[in-house]
Symmetry: C2
Subunit: 648 residues, 2 copies
């Protein structure tokens, strides 16, 4: 915990600031007072029972600075109760992971003294965010001072104020000392070592740590493919016999690494306490809206999400939107082919070195356009499915993956299976892959960094001087961090890995060097992602995650599609065709048979390899067994109470 | 409960007999005394704490009758404690299903008074079997009186005595009144109605009820296929266009019905309390053998199963055995084709009505031989993997399904895809299907009935007179039931359905009438299976089951294979071929594309339809949530105790 910084509470005691709330500068006084009261109120009165103070501007404070910046903290006791509320799992005395309870706190392994080192700062911030999000309107009809800002019982106050633009942002503070240590062990010392996943998890939370764990695992898993790919590039391009072996190896390898990742991820998540924690049992996300109802599982009062409304929105808005985008994507693809044909015509008329270079120009332009279209689609989809309402884990994720897949690979499929032009396929694949890698590295780390530098042009020199200075006052730190860009979650990072995986696996028998390029990209990706998390973006709230979610499925689907494409490519190669000179039918039968064999092997392999390692499975079963036993015991201890409640 | 019958306990009180133990007549006195003591001993002394008495021969008892027949019962209290031991789930006051505990018994819905109607007779018998099976050797080195009958700590006593031939059988008694009512509502009144599944479950247990539920569901699900199939038979045989539609419908239908069955089965199993009950948390099956160890999940002492030893047995015994059987099966198939060719030759030389009939003879013979081979394989496999040791849920099930699949369908695959003779395929399919149906009905119901009648030839007239007589003495009833055949579990019944499903689905576009035949077969199957359960076989011990287990997977695998075979058949049809007169390649590409589309649809459909209905899922989640909450509370109540035990 950040002990160097503290602010004075209203009753004169100090507390460590954890989270910053920024309201627009012209917010009405009564709205501010109301919000602060709700944050400070006791929980039984529907408040969050947190500590909150206005940030006093520092010595360098100017008139322009927004005065409505508040820092939020909490007492240790409140945070420990909060840990119980959000259902954190911690290591128990006997080495198993158990749901934390305040009353039982001394039985947890790392709980010492009054427990002020028990929760990491990221966990404290997560708890505060959870409590703020769950500040719900009671009988207020609207936000005080703003008659148009309607509220109804159960509506998240923070969410409504944010969607209406009064609340600018809520973000957690960095802790400079810890960040410095983390940066050093993560990316500042250049040496071959694994990433400090536990430290990353400690600072950024489980979702982020799983992303970096997956990035590292994926890179390591690609190394064998890359090593096998190099001799193909160095020696003979055109020997399809060997490519068949290469593709076969790739396909089996993809299945194995995805299955093993599930096991590794389960081990990591168990140790971090997120595997046993059930998402369904948490309090609802603030994104849930609607009138209050009773959750059928937990019995808690919470807003019920109207499913029918969402379905309607999907059919009326999303489907036409996706179709329109797909059409646009196809249209752009056709323009690309026109350009390609035009470049080829010029090159054929008068072939020089420069026209040879010209051949790559259409692919490069196309790659840039694809990236732009992906970006536009992503924000448009987020906007359409209600980004303004924070509902960003909604329906757009699947569609966005589908659209990106189509957008990136449609042209390659067309070249491979309609034009059947292997030379163009290889050239196009290489150009798309390399261009998108370069663009991504620029877009996601260097551009925001550069933008931020430009924005802080004046403050920059001061920042450089003071960022390293331990005595930087809180008001300065808050001001600097408030201006940093906001990290929008791991979606874009996973999406990038997913598309790279597509480039490697879908057409691996045509361009074996792809794996080498992706490995090189991923190594720099680790550094640029680590850099952007530590230096470029605001600290994100930690997101407890037990696995990589929809991405596991997406990667597995990609590896199934890769079986089909690679088998088709092998079947189309002249070398394989020459084995069946008299009968094309027989060739196809063999290829289809081989493909079915590979698909069946994949499914059997995925079925046979258990998703969770045995020792973790035993621990999970043990938790379940002991829970059921405890439930039986509980009923025995309070039969009268139970009978009374059931007869009410 | 059977109140008309009772025997006197050693202390003069009476108890209702539930289970019969039969020892060979020359068993040594000391072994009998030892066994009875172990059965009667208190649980803390390692006994089963049950009531057991020798059966006194009735008035008609002859010298020949075995005197070593014992009836076992238990007090109500003991049975209720046993229900807690085996982890029965019962309906709680609030309508949810909860693990039963004795201390909390009054909070369960159907518990009234002293609870003598709370457990069904089948459940009582299951509990008694469980307790008998778990009578384990303590420090005895061998069974008293039999120095060669070695024991070691943890070895199941009953199991060792059974494998060494001293214990002839252990079986539960029928209850005549209830059986009569069940028979009447089940198969004696001929009218269109669903089976009384709850009554079947009440009398025979969940495993049996799920089998009959599946049989009924499967029959109903086939009716649409049968209805669509009839016009194909009545009007035009050879129109492949329509067959394509028919096959497409079948393939989608198969996926849908299998997915819906999972949901239906989950609903049934939830209501019966077996869905929430975890197999892994039960005490070990008596089949587990090895030295005592500690179960890592439940912490109970139990024999640890040696996995390596089993693996070795599989590789050294099962694999060569399966290969040998497959070779034999292929050899028989070749003989069948020789016979087929010979019959065709005779018919071609001089075609008459009789030679036309002769054409069917090889198929009929082959069908009979297949049935015999399946039967021999089943018993051989059971014997090889240790049937004598009761380990019958071991490794042979999967192999047996595979062998039966190969044995039944190899010839059809050969005719369809190697010989490509659609006329022979249809003829062979029809003959195999009809012959095997007839054989099965004879083999599984009428043959055992006839055998039993012949065995009881002398006693028969007396039986007829007394079976209807309510005053039939216990000794007579035991004697009659002991002579009945033993039902070996639902495996054979499911296997039969599985093979029928194969005949319907694999080649559905060649022989649409198959579904009609299977529906007709299944309707009689319900009656003959019900008849054999009630009249022919000993009452089986109930088997708690939450689903149909490996059969769900087997049926799904069959429906995937069916997609491949049907698409291939459609592609091979002359009508489809005529669409692509110039290019066979294009034809194959279309067929392969269509097949991939169907396969992808199947997987997406299976993924999208939830396996458990939402309201059941909510109840399961609620149980899990409350269990975890109870575990948290438990730790709070006994922190000192917990800390002490963990430091031991």
């Amino acid at each position: 915990m950040q002990k160097s910084l503290s602010v004075y509470d209203s009753d004169g005691s100090t507390f460590a600031p954890l989270v910053v709330i920024e309201l627009v500068s012209e917010t009405k006084e009564e709205a501010i007072a109301w919000l602060l009261n709700r944050v400070r109120d006791k929980q039984q009165d529907g408040g969050a029972e947190l500590l909150v103070e206005q940030l006093t501007p520092g010595a360098q404070g100017t008139e322009k600075d927004n005065p409505n910046v508040y820092v939020v903290g909490a007492s240790w006791q409140r945070l420990l109760y909060g840990a119980e509320d959000v259902g954190l799992f911690k290591e128990f005395n006997d080495g198993s992971m158990r749901g934390f309870t305040y009353a039982n706190k001394h039985n947890f392994k790392e709980f010492q003294g009054d427990g002020d080192g028990f929760l990491s700062m990221a966990e404290c911030q997560y708890i505060i965010k959870h409590e703020l999000d769950n500040l719900r309107a009671k009988d207020e009809a609207h936000v005080p001072g703003y008659p148009k800002m309607k509220l109804y019982p159960g509506k998240s106050v923070i969410r409504r104020m944010q969607s209406k633009g009064i609340l600018v942002q809520v973000f957690p503070l960095h802790e400079k000392e810890e960040l410095k240590r983390l940066s050093f062990s993560w990316f500042k010392k250049i040496k071959l070592s694994f990433q400090p996943l536990d430290d990353i998890r400690h600072y950024f939370g489980e979702g982020m740590a799983l992303y970096f764990g997956f990035l590292e695992y994926f890179t390591l898993a690609l190394i064998p493919m890359a090593l096998i790919g190099i001799p193909y590039y160095l020696f003979d391009w055109e020997d399809y016999d060997k490519f068949t072996v290469f593709a076969g190896f790739n396909l089996v390898w993809c299945t194995v690494i995805l299955e093993l990742w599930k096991r590794l991820s389960a081990s990591l998540a168990y140790g971090w306490g997120t595997l046993s924690r059930k998402k369904a049992f948490e309090e609802p996300r603030p994104g849930f809206h609607g009138v209050l109802g009773v959750n059928p599982v937990t019995g808690r009062a919470e807003p019920l999400y109207s499913n029918a409304k969402r379905q309607l929105r999907i059919y009326l808005v999303s489907v036409p939107f996706v179709l329109l985008c797909l059409y646009l994507s196809l249209y752009v693809m056709m323009i690309y082919f026109d350009m390609e044909g035009w470049a080829l015509m010029i090159h054929d008329e008068e072939p020089t070195f420069w026209t040879g270079l010209l051949l790559f120009i259409p692919s490069i332009i196309y790659a840039v356009v694809i990236e732009i279209m992906n970006l536009i689609y992503r924000y448009a989809a987020e906007f359409l499915t209600g980004w303004g309402e924070w509902d960003w884990m909604g329906g757009w994720v699947d569609e966005c993956i589908l659209f990106n897949f189509f957008n990136c690979f449609a042209s390659l499929f067309y070249i491979a299976f309609v034009m059947q032009d292997m030379v163009l396929l290889r050239q196009s694949l290489a150009t798309l892959l390399i261009t998108s890698q370069i663009l991504n590295q620029i877009m996601e780390a260097f551009l925001p960094y550069w933008l931020q530098r430009r924005r802080n042009k004046k403050a920059h020199k001061r920042m450089i001087k003071t960022m390293e200075d331990k005595e930087l006052p809180l008001s300065e730190q808050v001001k600097l961090e408030a201006d940093m860009s906001t990290y929008l979650g791991t979606f874009d990072d996973y999406l990038e890995l997913f598309l790279l995986f597509g480039y490697v696996s879908l057409f691996s028998c045509v361009y074996p060097l792809a794996a080498v390029l992706v490995v090189l990209n991923n190594v720099t990706e680790v550094y640029s992602d680590a850099f952007k998390m530590c230096k470029v973006f605001k600290r994100p709230f930690s997101e407890p995650a037990a696995n990589i979610g929809v991405w596991q499925l997406a990667f597995e689907a990609m590896s199934v599609i890769a079986v089909v494409t690679n088998c088709a490519l092998i079947g189309m190669s002249p070398q394989v065709k020459s084995y069946f000179p008299e009968s094309e039918t027989q060739l196809i039968m063999w290829v289809v048979g081989f493909e079915h064999f590979l698909l069946a092997s994949k499914f059997i392999l995925a079925f046979v390899i258990p998703d969770v390692p045995k020792h973790i499975q035993i621990k999970l079963s043990r938790l379940e067994f002991e829970s059921l036993e405890a439930l039986k015991k509980r009923h025995q201890k309070e039969p009268v109470y139970k009978r009374l409640t059931y007869h009410v």
